[in-house]
């Protein structure tokens, strides 16, 4: 049973991590807690579903297209909402509150367009039976989730750490003014970030839609809660941290169910968050500047 639970944990954790990647990216660069990330994640799922259902696109193509669609939605949200707020020098909570409005709009639009009902990918979109080793069961989606999450994370990590682009993004994160003075196309990179983050969110949406057969307009909300816990645990804006914290949360939840009680599963994420922050005030991997004056 433990082995099976570890597999469950790994795939659940990868979902959290994948969702959190885009979420933390936006926070890291734009300094915005984008509460519409859950809605974008949801739209990614619907986009792929529609493409598979109506255009009969192969899954991989539908997934790429869904990433494109959600990326563009992210871009649009940036252009219409976040950019004007940047230009107006809005206080730091304003963009977060605005994204709540965006999330409401997107969710209820989705509800109007697609209905409130659960949807699932057509049977046969992916092999549904599991691979068995003894009493271990692993599905194709589970493997897909883990692999895709890790690949996306490593790519993102390499970009952020090793490239000039990554450095520039981190520079913007700290001070757009300083970044401008370095000749960085700050607005352009804001767009790029919003696009990439939303595309990542969309990818997560597709994978979650595939693995849990529960595509609904509301699927983003619980994910958003977990995502928030994850990016904080990982240290805000820290890609590697988000990945590790996502996995960590997955393991914590699954092991809680396995060895403590499923009643406390949902409390585990935020409960741990609460405790960990008391010990490490900037998350598990957050760096602190000690210099005071």
């Amino acid at each position: 049973m433990l082995e099976q639970q570890l597999i469950n944990a790994l795939s659940l954790g990868s979902v959290y991590a994948l969702f959190a990647l885009g979420f933390t990216l936006v926070f890291g660069v734009l300094g915005v807690i984008n509460l519409s990330h859950g809605a974008i994640f949801m739209l990614g799922s619907y986009a792929a579903l529609l493409l598979v259902e109506h255009l009969a696109l192969p899954l991989w193509l539908a997934m790429l297209a869904a990433m494109l669609v959600s990326g563009l939605i992210g871009l649009l949200v940036d252009y219409l909402v976040l950019k004007p707020l940047r230009a107006r020098n809005a206080p730091h909570l304003a963009p977060m509150i605005a994204t709540i409005g965006v999330a409401t709009i997107l969710t209820s639009l989705a509800q109007g367009l697609f209905g409130a009902e659960n949807k699932r990918f057509p049977v046969g979109t992916i092999p549904e039976d599991s691979y068995n080793w003894g009493h271990l069961h692993v599905t194709a989606v589970q493997i897909g989730i883990v692999v895709i999450s890790f690949v996306l994370m490593l790519v993102l990590l390499a970009v952020m750490r090793r490239t000039q682009l990554g450095r520039a993004l981190r520079a913007i994160a700290e001070s757009p003014k300083a970044a401008y003075l370095l000749g960085i196309n700050v607005e352009g990179l804001f767009y790029l970030t919003s696009f990439a983050a939303a595309a990542l969110g969309g990818a997560a949406g597709v994978l979650v839609g595939l693995s849990f057969n529960a595509i609904t307009p509301f699927m983003g909300q619980p994910m958003l809660h977990k995502g928030i816990a994850v990016i904080i645990l990982g240290g805000m804006g820290d890609i590697r941290g988000a990945m590790i914290a996502g996995l960590f949360l997955g393991f914590a939840e699954v092991l809680t169910v396995a060895y403590i009680s499923s009643d406390f599963r949902d409390a585990v994420g935020f409960g741990l968050l609460f405790l960990i922050l008391l010990v490490k005030p900037s998350g598990m991997f957050g760096k602190v500047l000690e210099r005071k004056a």
């Binding site: 000039q164 450095r167 520039a168 001070s175 300083a178 003075l181 000749g183 960085i184 760096k287």
Partner: protein, 249 residues
């Protein structure tokens, strides 16, 4: 204005009738400046005169109420006012801003690498990095540490070093000597002169008026958002008004 302006030198950057407001307060009230190619121009004035405001407007970080900032590009005059800040940097105008704008969460080396953001010539960048390290050895020692942990003066060095990494045509320096130890102040002025000799045009805002005017070919005095004096550096240095108002008699 009796200055015998050096007529040989062509202005590479001309500021014309620049006015900048913060809300209702007009901080810069329609000023004209000209930076001659390859020269150091000093801009001095009391606290709050509008020096930093002028520099920020040139760099595009503040949108002026009116005026032009003309850059001479191969004989063409280009107005920078409408450009976004990164385009202005790309056209070769780089600023070391007041308060340094150190990227505290990046390492020292990363700060310097970002200085060269607009450049593509890898080999040359590496050489320049060595040059900056030789100018400021402490930066090399601390290159992997977070820039935010540097002392005030160290951050100032980093800011200058980072600007040099951009290989600018025009360098705008906002109080580069602020917070530096005397030895280093000498060093900074020496470096400013040295890089100027490589052909770099420099606009130097300084409270260290004496030193600044000493190394500047031209100088402007800004008071309450208006240029009140413009002359050669030496002349200004001996101008009784300047002596009284800015050099403490």
């Amino acid at each position: 204005m009796t200055a015998e302006m050096n007529t040989n030198a062509t202005p590479i950057l001309q500021v014309h009738d620049l006015a900048v407001s913060y809300g209702h307060i007009e901080a810069v009230k329609g000023i004209d400046l000209a930076l001659n190619e390859g020269e150091i121009t000093a801009l001095v004035g009391a606290n709050g005169a509008g020096k930093s405001t002028t520099l920020l407007a040139i760099s595009g970080l503040l949108k002026p109420a009116r005026g032009q900032v003309l850059l001479n590009q191969q004989g063409q005059q280009q107005d920078l006012i409408r450009l976004s800040p990164h385009k202005i940097v790309q056209s070769g105008i780089v600023q070391v801003a007041e308060g340094r704008a150190t990227l505290t969460t990046l390492s020292v080396a990363e700060n310097l690498a970002l200085g060269a953001y607009t450049r593509k010539d890898k080999a040359q960048i590496a050489q320049d990095l060595d040059w900056v390290y030789s100018l400021f050895p402490v930066l090399q020692r601390r290159k992997d540490g977070l820039a935010g942990n540097l002392s005030g003066g160290e951050q100032q060095m980093l800011a200058i070093g980072r600007a040099l990494m951009a290989k600018p045509r025009v360098l705008l320096l906002d109080e580069p000597s602020m917070g530096l130890a005397p030895l280093l102040v000498q060093e900074i002025f020496r470096i400013v002169q040295e890089i100027n000799r490589t052909g770099l045009t420099i606009l130097l805002v300084e409270q260290n008026v004496r030193q600044a005017l000493r190394i500047a070919q031209h100088g402007y005095v800004l008071e309450n958002g208006k240029i009140v004096l413009a002359d050669s550096g030496v002349n200004l240095l001996h101008n009784p008004k300047v002596l009284e108002a800015y050099l403490g008699g």
